[in-house]
């Protein structure tokens, strides 16, 4: 199975914060996704992008962060020493440190994925702004949408 990616249709985000609520519900009250306003005119939900070459994984001295199944960067509490290097390395500001050695970050709802269910934020998004699919499928849809738009704009 080629891996699926997390994708955002920025036009569709209405800043309703449903993803934050869903994420918090799935992760004992802590949301790992953040609806972030851009210019006060629109917003995008930001969470761990599970980068191909993850800086957080590279800097972690104890391998508490590791690339695991479903292409997810996962956190292992037992190994964490609470140095906070991952937080410094992450360019998106989506890794949080709580207590001494607990890193809070998106786990792509690995428990749900293992049961064959999509992540909670994807399913809850009322406007379907959040997508979880193969990159080719998503890009194909986007091209089609653009083509349709161009067609409709014609007088």
């Amino acid at each position: 199975m080629s891996s699926k990616v997390f994708f955002v249709d920025t036009e569709r985000c209405i800043a309703c914060q449903a993803c934050e609520a869903a994420c918090a519900r799935e992760h004992s009250g802590n949301a790992h996704i953040f609806v972030t306003s851009i210019n006060g005119k629109h917003s995008i939900p930001l969470c761990c992008l599970h980068c191909e070459n993850s800086p957080c994984v590279e800097v972690c001295p104890t391998r508490a962060l590791e690339k695991a199944s479903h292409a997810a960067v996962l956190f292992n509490k037992v190994r964490c020493i609470g140095c906070g290097l991952c937080i410094i390395a992450c360019p998106f500001g989506v890794i949080q440190l709580r207590d001494e050695n607990t890193v809070l970050k998106c786990d792509r709802c690995i428990n749900r994925l293992q049961k064959g269910k999509d992540p909670a934020c994807i399913l809850t998004c009322p406007t379907k702004a959040l997508l979880y699919d193969k990159r080719d499928t998503i890009l194909g849809k986007r091209r089609k949408k653009h083509a349709l738009k161009a067609k409709h704009k014609k007088p």
């Binding site: 309703c16 609520a21 006060g40 005119k41 399913l123 809850t124 009322p126 406007t127 738009k149 409709h152």
Partner: protein, 677 residues
């Protein structure tokens, strides 16, 4: 293995009626999961939907009936004792002062079955003093459509918006309050639709609409007037549709005569050119839909006018009765449509039958085996509140209604409670209103109830019991039935379960005739009118003709009046209210920090900075709030997301003559810096 199972559930946070699965293990709710196959939300759940489980095990719930003691404290009593006391006190008061000394009040959070037995009990006792407090919190506008289109309901289902070519959104806080409906707007947009939004406050995302018209608060009606005038002038109206399917067009045109587009510009603040553009887009599209979003608070005072003008505009262009067209008044609370359908109204019997309709009146009296079905119009909530002066109301029954916290005129309500001899409050929590009761009965949370809810799109869905009631709390319908039986209506209230009540409802209300328990228990339920047991339901109204007596849609001229207070030197700001997307609203009674949104220009003149504390004064009261500076709001207008209405009252008891909605949102205020830093 744990015995985890998933139960089909309906979210009761608002009137959209989204489906989801509640996960239950060993009789306890553990989590929820998404229902991709639900026709309304397709799996999606908003912020509130994701928090819907929170209220079930809320620590503040009441578990036993409570009776007020002489010293004012409450003591637990048995269910038997509570029900006996209520029945005997109501009997006594009705005998002494007549049945119109009783008043029954509910909200939009109950099931259809609970409403049905509640209003039946009130009417068999001989009074039409029955109302829902929620219809005075901005749920009333679908009712206004009855006079022009025939049915007091939305015309098309939400998902139908995806077929529209042009969508015009009026009202306020659409995105915040209706994320699930906005999904269908995006689907329409993806197919090339044009979306126009008119609101006084800029929405959190401007990408959902193509044109945003930032109007002065409450001026939707004159804006639509302008659009109508331009459409007629340009001859873009649908003459064939007007001739075949409508009435009153000439009188309507005459009534418009004196106005001009310049007036619309002056009132709404939108330049003539933009009004013209919006009008042309709406009129020329092959299918256009109109959305009227109504926010939490009693809004503007002019929303009856807006609702009627939406209907006028749709009739003018013939955008009704087809996929992608229609008028969408969006209600706030979960079962406000159901409450009205069930006859929770001082003016209408179940099935929206007017009290004056002799045939319906006789038919219902016969079915209820009574000779004394009252004909006199009852008192609405505002009328009950005003009735304090002559102390007409002696006993009150409030079923899951909390007007003291969710409505205005708190002082008058307190006087009302003081003037009555006996008050019963049935609620999940010890609300401010409950504190004034003589007897408090615990109510079930949504997850413990069974019965039907009618969503804002006329979809009737079944809520199954998800967990057993806590501490043997008796379901609301059963409590009402026990009281009614003790009052002497044994045979009329011999229901053994909510299914039996639904069966009587479908015998009584023609539109609900085909809604059997088995049919509505399927995912997605059924959309009424559903006339026979095999009828597929009617998602789109008026495909053939309107439900008015002559089958024609009626143009009703709208007179826009500038009501309420005007800003003065002392009170320079217009105060507006609404819900934010994350406001959980009314069910759990959680207090949140009060925030006030204002323009940067106003913040400079006060002067106050982001996060600073201010004191907001109206002529009646004051509150403190934290400032949030935003470009989303016009100068000289401030916006408070979700205000507990009891603290700030509108000074005048202005009541909109038709919808009987008090106008809170036209208050003016002054704002001063307060506190330390």
């Amino acid at each position: 293995m744990t015995s985890l199972h998933e139960i089909e559930s309906i979210c009761t946070s608002c009137a959209e009626g989204c489906g989801f699965y509640t996960q239950v293990a060993q009789g306890k709710v553990t989590n929820l999961d998404y229902m991709k196959e639900h026709p309304v939300n397709q799996g999606g759940l908003c912020f509130k939907g994701n928090r819907v489980l929170d209220s079930i095990y809320h620590p503040n719930r009441i578990h036993s009936p409570l009776e007020r003691q002489e010293d004012g404290t409450f003591e637990a009593v048995s269910w038997d004792q509570a029900i006996t006391t209520i029945a005997s006190r109501f009997k006594q008061i009705a005998k002494k002062h007549g049945p119109d000394a009783l008043a029954f009040l509910t909200s939009a959070h109950c099931t259809n079955e609970e409403y049905y037995v509640f209003q039946k009990c009130a009417r068999l006792l001989g009074t039409n003093n029955i109302d829902s407090s929620s219809s005075h919190e901005g749920n009333g506008t679908s009712r206004d459509l009855a006079s022009s289109l025939g049915s007091a309901a939305i015309t098309n289902p939400f998902a139908d918006l995806a077929h529209a070519q042009c969508i015009f959104i009026t009202g306020s806080n659409f995105l915040e309050n209706h994320p699930i409906v906005s999904h269908w707007i995006f689907e329409a947009k993806a197919k090339g639709a044009t979306v126009i939004c008119a609101d006084h406050r800029r929405p959190p995302s401007l990408l959902f609409c193509d044109h945003f018209l930032q109007i002065h608060p409450g001026t939707q009606a004159p804006l639509i007037d302008g659009m109508i005038m331009h459409i007629i002038e340009k001859k873009l109206h649908n003459k064939h549709f007007i001739g075949e399917h409508t009435s009153g067009f000439e009188a309507f045109q005459k009534a418009l005569g004196k106005q001009s587009l310049k007036d619309s510009e002056k009132l709404s603040g939108i330049p003539v050119a933009q009004i013209k553009e919006a009008a042309e887009l709406y009129a020329t599209a092959s299918a256009s839909a109109l959305i009227q979003a109504i926010d939490f608070s009693p809004l503007y005072g002019n929303h009856t006018a807006t609702a009627l003008n939406c209907a006028n505009l749709a009739l003018l262009c013939g955008h009704l009765g087809r996929p992608g067209t229609g008028v969408f008044p969006l209600a706030q609370h979960s079962n406000s449509q159901g409450s009205y359908d069930m006859g929770v109204s001082p003016q209408a019997l179940p099935g929206n039958a007017p009290l004056k309709d002799q045939a319906q009146h006789t038919r219902i009296a016969k079915l209820w085996k009574t000779k004394n079905l009252p004909k006199k119009e009852g008192l609405s909530l505002p009328a009950v509140t005003r009735a304090t002066k002559n102390r007409r109301i002696k006993a009150l029954y409030l079923m899951e209604s909390n007007p003291l916290e969710h409505w205005i005129h708190a002082d008058q309500l307190k006087k009302l409670f003081k003037g009555t001899e006996f008050v019963v409050v049935q609620d999940c929590f010890l609300t401010e209103t409950a504190k004034h009761a003589d007897i408090i009965l615990p109510a079930l949370s949504w997850a413990e109830k069974t019965g039907t809810y009618t969503t804002g799109e006329r979809r009737v869905q079944w809520q199954s019991r998800i967990v057993s009631p806590q501490e043997h709390i008796i379901p609301g319908w059963q409590v009402i039935c026990s009281i009614a039986q003790k009052l002497g209506f044994k045979s009329q209230f011999s229901f053994s379960n909510p299914e039996a009540i639904l069966k009587e409802i479908s015998r009584l209300i023609p539109d609900y005739a085909g809604l059997s328990p088995t049919r509505v228990k399927k995912i997605g339920g059924l959309t009424y009118p559903c006339l026979t047991p095999k009828h597929p339901g009617t998602p789109i109204l008026y495909a053939e003709q309107f439900n008015t007596p002559d089958g024609r849609g009626k143009f009703i001229p709208v007179v826009y009046e500038k009501k309420g207070e005007k800003p003065t030197k002392k009170y320079p700001f217009r105060l507006t209210f609404g819900k934010s997307a994350t406001c959980l609203g009314t069910l759990t009674g959680e207090e949140t920090n009060l925030r006030v949104e204002m323009n940067a220009k106003d913040a400079k003149t006060i002067p106050v900075q982001q996060g600073g504390e201010v004191k907001i004064d109206t002529k009646l009261g004051s509150v403190k709030a934290t400032v949030s500076i935003t470009e989303n709001i016009l100068p000289e207008v401030v916006f408070i997301p979700f205000l507990a209405a009891r603290e700030l009252e509108s000074p005048r008891n202005t009541v909109d003559p038709r919808a009987i909605l008090p106008e809170l949102n036209t208050a003016v205020c002054q704002i001063k810096k307060s506190g330390g830093k």
